[in-house]
C-alpha cells in the first residue's frame, strides 16, 4: 500500500517503471461515404499522444470536447483499437494483444463512467451489478462473491443492507459510489474516471472526490482522471496533460501547469476558469475568440495556431514538438519555447 501523501510531496517522476506508459498513440476514425462506404477522410481523434502514469499517481486529462480525451481513455483500456502507437501496462505491451490475451489483464484496469445508472441493468440487484465482473473474470461466485460485494459497498460508504436493492432506489451520488464499487471489484491497479463526477450536484461531487482520494490512499490506486471542470482536475491530479485537437500540448505537475501555463492554449483554458465565487464576483474571464476546429480537418502546423494570439509564421507550417518547460518533467509543444528559432520575437510570459 502506498503511504498517504508520499507521491504528492515529490513531483519528480516516480522511481521505477511507470504503471502505464503511452507512446505516440494514434487513433484515426475513417469517414465513409456512399454505397460502397468509400473512405473519404479521417477524423484524427488522437494524433500522437504520449504520457505516463506512475503507481499511486493521478494524471488528469483536460481539454475541450472533441480534443480526444475520452478516446484516449478508451484506447488505453483497449476498448478501442489504436491505429498505431504503444500502450504498456506494467511493462507489458497491450496495444497489439488479442481480446483473448487481454482478458486476464482487464481485471487490473477498470473504468468509471459519467452516468453509472445507464451502465447498470435496471433489473439487476446491486449485488449482481457488483459481482458481475468477478464472475466474468472467474475470480469468485456465489456466497464468496456476495461477501466481496458487501465489503466493497462498505468501502465506498454504502451498507451491505443495500445489496438486494435495485439501481433506481439510489440517488446520483450513491449510484456513482456503486459504479466505483463495481470498478474496484477485481482489485484493479488503474482506474480510468471518465467525467465520473461531472453529472453530480456540487455537494455530492465533493463527497465522491473525497471517496476517490481515500480509496487511492488505502488501495494504492492509479487514476487517469478526465473532467471538463478544471478546478476539479487540478484538485485531484498530481500531474495534468492538456489536450487540443488530438494532441497533448502541455503536461506537468498540476499546480504548476494551471498557475503558470507555458502553452498559449493552456493559458487560454486557465484564463477561462471562473474566479472563486467566494471573492464576491464581478470579475470577467479572459475571452478567446473562435472555437476548436474539427478533428476531421485539423489546421496544418500547430493545431492551436488559428486561435493563438502569439502565433507567427512558423506555427502554420510546422508541428511543434514537446519541449522542456520547467521542473518536474514539464513539457509544452510550442515554438515560442524554442528560443533559437524565435529570433528575438516575444517569448511567452
Amino acid at each position: 500500500m502506498a503511504s498517504p501523501a508520499a507521491h504528492r510531496e515529490d513531483t519528480a517522476p516516480a522511481p521505477g517503471p511507470p504503471l502505464m506508459e503511452v507512446t505516440d498513440l494514434v487513433k484515426h476514425f475513417p469517414i465513409t461515404r456512399g454505397l460502397l462506404r468509400r473512405t473519404v477522410g479521417h477524423v484524427r481523434a488522437v494524433d500522437g499522444v504520449s504520457f505516463t502514469i506512475g503507481a499511486g499517481e493521478t494524471v488528469g486529462l483536460v481539454g475541450e470536447s472533441g480534443s480526444g480525451k475520452s478516446t484516449v481513455a478508451r484506447l488505453v483500456l483497449r476498448l478501442l483499437d489504436p491505429t498505431s502507437g504503444s500502450v504498456k501496462f506494467d511493462g507489458q505491451e497491450i496495444a497489439a494483444l488479442s481480446q483473448r490475451e487481454l482478458t486476464p489483464l482487464r481485471r487490473n484496469m477498470q473504468i468509471v463512467f459519467q452516468d453509472p445508472v445507464s451502465s447498470f441493468d435496471p433489473r439487476m440487484t446491486i449485488c449482481s451489478v457488483i459481482t458481475e465482473p468477478l464472475e466474468a473474470q472467474g475470480i469468485s461466485s456465489g456466497q464468496q462473491a456476495r461477501d466481496r460485494a458487501a465489503e466493497l459497498l462498505d468501502l465506498v460508504g454504502l451498507s451491505s443492507r443495500d445489496l438486494d436493492k435495485y439501481p433506481h432506489q439510489f440517488s446520483g451520488g450513491q449510484a456513482q459510489r456503486i459504479g466505483i464499487a463495481r470498478a474496484l471489484a477485481t482489485n484493479p491497479r488503474l482506474l480510468v474516471c471518465d467525467e465520473a463526477v461531472s453529472a453530480l450536484d456540487v455537494s455530492v461531487q465533493a463527497q465522491v472526490l473525497n471517496l476517490l482520494r481515500k480509496l487511492q490512499v488505502e488501495l494504492g490506486l492509479s487514476y487517469l482522471f478526465i473532467a471538463h471542470d478544471l478546478n476539479v482536475v487540478r484538485y485531484i491530479s498530481d500531474r495534468i496533460c492538456v489536450m487540443y485537437l488530438g494532441r497533448v500540448v502541455e503536461q506537468g505537475p498540476a499546480d504548476a501547469v494551471m498557475t503558470d501555463p507555458k502553452h498559449p492554449y493552456t493559458r487560454t483554458l486557465a484564463g477561462a476558469i471562473a474566479a472563486d465565487p467566494r471573492t464576491g464576483g464581478g470579475t470577467r474571464r479572459v475571452v478567446v475568440r473562435g472555437e476548436m476546429p474539427s478533428p476531421s480537418n485539423p489546421p496544418p502546423g500547430c493545431p492551436f495556431h488559428p486561435r493563438c494570439p502569439q502565433a507567427f509564421d512558423r506555427c502554420s507550417t510546422e508541428v511543434p514538438a514537446p519541449l522542456p518547460a520547467g521542473e518536474g518533467g514539464r513539457t509544452a509543444s510550442c515554438h515560442l519555447l524554442d528560443i533559437t528559432a524565435v529570433n528575438g520575437k516575444a517569448v511567452g510570459r
Binding site: D162, K165, G282, R285
Partner: protein, 358 residues
Amino acid sequence: MHPQPLLEVDDLHVEFSTADGPVEAVAGVSFTVGPEETVAVVGESGSGKSVTALAVLKLLDGGRISGGQVRFDGEDLASLDNRAMRRVRGNDIAMIFQDPMTSLDPLYSIGHQIVEALRLHRPVSKKAARERAVELLEQVGMPDPRRRLASYPHQLSGGQRQRVMIAIALACSPRLLIADEPTTALDVTIEAQILELLHELQREYRTAMLLVTHDMGVVAEIADRVVVFYGGQVVEQGPTAQVLRDPQHPYTAALLAAIPHPDSAKELQLPAIPGAVPALRDMPTGCRFNPRCAMAWDDCTREVPPLYELPGGRTSRCLLHRDGGGSAVVAPPAPPLTAELAPAGPPARAPLTTQKGI
C-alpha cells in the same frame, strides 16, 4: 431596490401529479426581477429552480401552479389564457435552454426559424425579417451570418447553436430573458464567450435576465442579485457580492465551501455536505436542510424557519436569525484526507419528476 419590479413571483406553489398522488416541487417561492436587472436562481437538482422558471412562462409539462402569483409588469400571468400567454412568450419574455439541439427544429434552416420567430409577433415582410435575421446573427457573433441562414442545427457547433437560440430569443427585443443553464453544456472557453455575449446584449437591449444555474462561478460573474433554492424553497436571497462573500444561510455557506477552487488544499478533503438532496415526497420536517446541516439543533427538526429579513436587502431562512442579527454562519472546515468521509445518507427514492427541455 427597484420601485416597480418587472417580474414578481409571489408565494408560488407548483404541483406535479404522479401515480402516488400530487407532489409539490415548488413550495411558496417569492422573488422579484427589476427592469434591466440580472437575477440568478441557484440550486442543486430537485431544488425547484427550473420548475419555477418554466412556471413563469406556464410551460409546465404535467405540472400546475397550485398557488401564488406570477406578475409581469403588474399583470398576473396565471390568469391569462393560452392565447394571451402565447403573445407574452417570445415577445415580452423569451427563454433559452441548456440544450439548444432540443429547442431548435432539426428540419428547418436556422434562417427559417429566426424569421418565423420574428413574424409570429411582428407584422414584417419575409424579406425584412431575413435582413433582421442576418443582423441578429451578426450581433450574436455568428461568423459569416448571411451564409449561415441556410445552415441546419446539426451543422453548427454547440456554442453556435446557443448563439442561434440567443438570436431567436432577442428577435422581438423581450423585456425579460429567462436563461435556464445556458452554458452548462458548453466548454469553459465557449461558456466565457456566451456569458460575455449575454452581458453585452442585455445592456444593448435593456433586457432583464432571470438566470437559472447550478454554477456559483457563473452567478458570481453575471448576476446582480442571487436567490438560493433548496428543496423547493428560497433559503437565501440578496445582492450577489454580499451573499457570496458572507453567506447567511448554512446551506449557501456549505455549498460554496464544497466547490473545489484553485486554492483548495490537496492534503485536505473537500468540505462535502453529507447526505443527498431530499426527494420531493420525503421532505424532512422543520427546516428542509436540517439533516445535512452542520449547525442544526433540536429546534431545526421541529420548527419551520420563516424567511428572516436581514440588513442590506437580504433574507435568509434559518432559525439562527431568530433572535435578530446575523447568523455568524461558518463554512464547515476541510477535514484531513485520512479523516472519516461524509456519509452518503440513506437511499433516496427515485426522482419523481424530471424536467427536460420542452
